[in-house]
Amino acid sequence: MNSVILQIAARYIKALLVLFAMIALLRGHNYPGGGFIGGLLAALSVIYYGFAFNVRQVREKLKVNPATYIAIGLFLVVLSFIPSILNQLELMQGVWLKVQIPVLGELKLGTPFLFDMGVFLTVIGVTFLFFFSLTKVE
């Protein structure tokens, strides 16, 4: 497919989608969004780009194997359980770290975010794996 309109649009839309995915991931805890939605959006941006240009090239540019995304994602998920074990809480109970940042105020970092990051990466990896398997690029 060689559509100039699609290709030019894809360049901007790709960036926008990635940005959107990041926002969805980061704000997920308080507003609509989250790792699952973010992951799908991020994967969609690459798929869109692949459609506009060439799937094979996109796959080569990606360098990282889709399965690696999944592996890192699941690893992060498991990693997010460790603080609860170390603090002798129930397994998977959230552990929060409150950091005071000047000007911006209090930042709450918690294991649920790590978990969400894991979901994010896993979803990206799974979608990529579907996509590249179906397009026979893998």
């Binding site: 969805a24 997920g28 805890h29 308080n30 507003y31 609509p32 969004g33 989250g34 790792g35 699952f36 939605i37 799908l40 959006l41 994967a43 969609l44 798929i47 459609f51 889709p66 399965a67 999944i70 994602g73 699941l74 998920v77 998977m92 959230g94 929060w96 709450k108 918690g110 649920p112 975010f113 978990f115 969400d116 894991g118 979901v119 896993t122 979803v123 990896g125 799974v126 979608t127 794996l129 579907f130 996509f131 398997s133 179906l134 397009t135 026979k136 893998e138």
Partner: protein
Amino acid sequence: MQNILLIYFLFSLGIFVIPVKVFKYKAIVLALVQVGAFIYFASKIPIITDGETINSILNWIPELGLNLSFILNGLSLAFALLITGIGALVFIYAHAYMKSYANTDRFFFFLFLFSGAMLGLVLSENLIQLFIFWELTSFLSFLLIAFFHEKEPARKAAFQSLFITGFGGLILLTGIILIGSVAQSYSLTEWILKADEIRSSAFYVPGLILILIGAFTKSAQFPFHFWLPGAMQAPTPVSSYLHSATMVKAGFFLLASLNPVLSGTIEWTYIIPLFGVITMLVGAYFAITQTDIKAILAYTTITALGILILLIGVDTKLSIKAAILFLFIHAFYKATLFMVAGLIDKKTGTRDLSKLGGLAHYMPITFIVALLALFSMAGFPPMLGFLGKELVYEAKVQSPGIASLILIFGVAANVLMIAVSLFFLKKVFLGKKNNYSKNPNEKGLFIVGPALLATLSLFFGLFPNILGNSIIEPAIQSIFLETYHVKLKLWHGFNKVFFLSLFTVASGILLFYLIDKYPKLLENWRKLNNKIFTIKLADVFSNGLDNFIEFSKRNTRVIQHGYHRYYLLTIIVVTALLLWFQVFVTRGWELPTKLSFNPFYISGLIGIIIISTIFSAINKSRIATIIAMGVAGYGISLIFLYYSAIDLAITQIIVETLTVVMFVIVLQKLPRFAKLSSKVTKIRDLAIALVFGSVMTILALKAVQVEFNHTISDFFVENSYLKAYGKNVVNVILVDFRALDTLGEITVLTIAALGVFVLLKKKKA
């Protein structure tokens, strides 16, 4: 105590990581760890002899009554000392023995893990935990027996032992659960407290039988005994360890530790001795006609196990005492003899009795060691074995009920054992020297273990009370739960037992003389055996297994036919029927009385969804179908949005988009759209669609009427920000409250993706 186990598991892993090429003395390090554990357990002897026990509990899944619960009492101490002590010697021996083989990293890993599992088994206080270690030993012994996996007999024997002991383990588990349901607990201490209740319950007999099957399979009792001779396919250090201190003794350990709970009934005192007696006789009978020295030893192990099980079943104070003593006797001489057999095999290149002879000349130390061990096996004074035999006879004489029968068979088995011991000694070490391809010697660390153990057999024979007071006495006390003093002596005076013993020795020597003098006799005996025992249990077993596999294959071919459409059909039809059944049973659904079309744009949206669905079903272009389905999906997400389920709506939109994209990709690969189905199949599919669709509609209508339980959702809403610091309840549920569900979901996704990946992978030409 659990730290010791942790050390075992960590060391086995740690040692696996360092290859033997880099560090040659792995086995020695592991032997030192065993020595350390031995010293640890030995240091607990004073506490245990005072009648105390050491307990430690780690909570695991308390809701299910599953805790990591460890106990060190007299019995488990005795076993722990055997496992670690003989373990250390076996590792020193293995260091010398395994030098010439490949993959020793794996070997030491398995063997050390096996030690750890066995220790875990004897230290377990919770019976479910005991079962886990039990199966672990079965599994590891499978790996050890199959160590020479390039040889077919080894693979076969390994499978056999795994199936029999693993199967026995599962049966044991059901037995434990049955008895556990009576006692309301899986803790051994609890069981002992509720022993009377257990014995009088209706579950007692079935529970006992199941537990017995478990113990019998592990301890190679008739009719499950045949896996044990097969297991000699393992490298000799393994055989030596498996036969003497571990694995096959686990069944005995289980029955001994459950003795306070289950014994004292007619079932116990009849079933167990019956199988014990048969096993004892079978083992001794077949031992004498073997030609492979390892096979002889394997069959004598079966005899010894029969004696142990028999004694536990007779269930008098004397018999338990005899059993515990015999446990040590057997461990000492059997470990020694297997190591000697391995050494002979290594140095001469053969294990065949007819090719051996005159080895005393080449290996004088080995000869003395073997002499001591064989004397202990035959029960000659002043070895520990003599004491054991006397005690065993005494126990049999005094056993209630079927004493005379047990006694006769016992004497017969012992006569055979004496003949076997002497025959073994004569054939291997004495007689004329054969020509050996290699020049036999006894260099290396081979002889350390056997020499030490044989010396112990002699030493404890002379000073039996050192062993008796420190280890046997507490072990018996932990079975009887009361103080019991053990006094062992070599000389019992002229009594019934002494004359019985004299008679046994005389007949044994006579039998040895006969088979030695007239080799034809043994030859014919073998032929006779082959004629009578044409059915070999091991073959029956493997044939049965083959037939079963064939049967399963046939079944699988019918059920797993490979047609995706029929799989889907089955799933949908079954689901629809089950749902219809449930709808029919519960009833209570009704059509909404009034239809509301407000607001108009939602009604319109629903109209669009319906139209696009119908369109997708009837139109003839694939791409149009997919787009129409996409329209329906977007419509639904708009409805979500209207009811302010924003997260759901976003997800639905993205997933819908992705689905359409994926469909479009797949579409390119498909052949041209064609109608292949006949009219009949079309009508069938329509019927199925109607059945399924209608039940879903009814369910949706019913869902509206169901009283909704608000407690859970209220909890989430209330605590979302307070406890989980998140304002988006949906996301907090996903990543915090119900994180386990999400973990499950992403795991499923991963597996699905891998499935797609594997299925669509380009096939290599």
